[in-house]
Amino acid sequence: MTSVMVSRIRRQQIAQLIADGKRLDGRGLKDYRSIQIESGIIGKAEGSARVRLGKTEVMVGVKIDVGEPFSDRPNEGVLTTNAEFVPLASPEFEAGPPGEESMELARVVDRGIRESKAIELEKLCIIPGKKVFVIFVDVYVLNHDGNLIDASTLASIVALMNTKIFKYEIKDGEIEKKPGFSPLPLRDIPISVTLASINGILVVDPWLDEEEVMDARLTIAFSKDGRICAIQKGGSGTLSPQQIIEAANIAKEKSEEIREIVVKS
């Protein structure tokens, strides 16, 4: 809990720098922090990844289970995304049931994956209307230094890219596991890009101090053909329609840079 005073000075400092095209941590307005990706690090999970975005650190584990399909999608697997703000990640996080922040994070990550149709859910049906694969994407925030959405989306898609599903056959209506695994069928790699508006100026990948002073946050996710697949505005400020379009154009460019890193990783 920094005092109101300090945060006002900090706000001025951050905003003034940004007005000059600079940032407190030395980045340019459209620069991401350094991105480090590790994949397949949790052997007990069917898929996993750890992403470090500057000092922000997020781990994602993917677990596969067999369950029932939704009644309006009897031939499709089920995607379930969850985010935990475990209290070791930040002095602000508390143990207990998920709050609105972690629910929003989970839903925005889920939206990017779902709306880009990244997972070929229709290939995850085992017995139509009865048994399908259920994909649990668990986002685990380990250190919160801002822009959890991009770090989590990134870690989730990398974890899905290394997810494997056991092979099986159906005998007398029962599922029998067979030796070996197939990769999770993916058709897209959605990438989200988050910008903050600080005194009317857009900056990419806000870190924690910037998030604390920003007017609004805008996250735009792109599918690999360059289409927008999800948007979420956050924060208690506003954006002009012009800013939104400008943000979309910046975000598209950045998403391509990041997708290249992912594909190479």
């Binding site: 109101v4 999608r73 609105e100 629910m103 929003e104 989970a106 839903r107 939206r111 709306e115 880009s116 805008l218 599918s223 360059g226 289409r227 927008i228 697949c229 999800a230 948007i231 979420q232 505005k233 956050g234 924060g235 208690s236 400020g237 506003t238 954006l239 002009s240 329609p241 939104i244 379009i245 979309a248 154009n249 598209k252």
Partner: protein, 248 residues
Amino acid sequence: MTEKIVLVNEDGIRTDGRKLSELRPIKLEVGILSNADGSAYIEQGKNKILAAVYGPREVHPRHMALPDRALLRCRYHMAPFSVEERKSPAPSRREVELSKVIREAFEPAIFLEKFPRTSIDLFIEVLQADGGTRCAGVTVASLALADAGIPMKDLIVACAAGKAGGHLVLDLNDIEDKEGEADIPVAYMPSFNAVSLLQMDGLLTIEEFQQAINLALEGCKQIYALQKEALKAKYQAIKESTEVTEEE
């Protein structure tokens, strides 16, 4: 999904008979609940939504009070009978998320700094849902806030645009929302040209997105006019009834 539903026919007419950039019929009423400090009701297509405001009032629990401004709280909630399959009355993750983005949509509009150490509590109850409930909820909540006399920089108005059946369309209904290609809810302060809520589901090119945003803003402006009319009608009604009031 098994049979492809035709969302827009060859004459550019939608499943409910509307043109591409046509709003659903909207009915607004202000000041309809006696306990709330402010209240309003909207019907937009088959959506039926109530909003009520309590405050500025004492904050419970007290430690949540803010020293320099009012605490704005918002609850978007759906009645169990508002949707096809009964919804548990416990708040779903979707309702929690929408409560958050709606609160953030109103924070820039309300002069919260005028009421330090108090809370302003905004309740949106969806009695029947037909697509676009968060937008209709914002529109009606704005009227409830005005009815409660909460000072605002501008009314907030909300409307979605999106893509359905291959066309950009305004104010998506339930089936267009579920079977269409994209949905973009937008909340807007027309006097400031400021967007305070923005989300998107679906797939759109940047060009389509730009057009859809503009379409949504056009819708917002039309609804804004209806909001003002509804408030005027309320004031008129109050004027006419002030002689009859029996309770202070």
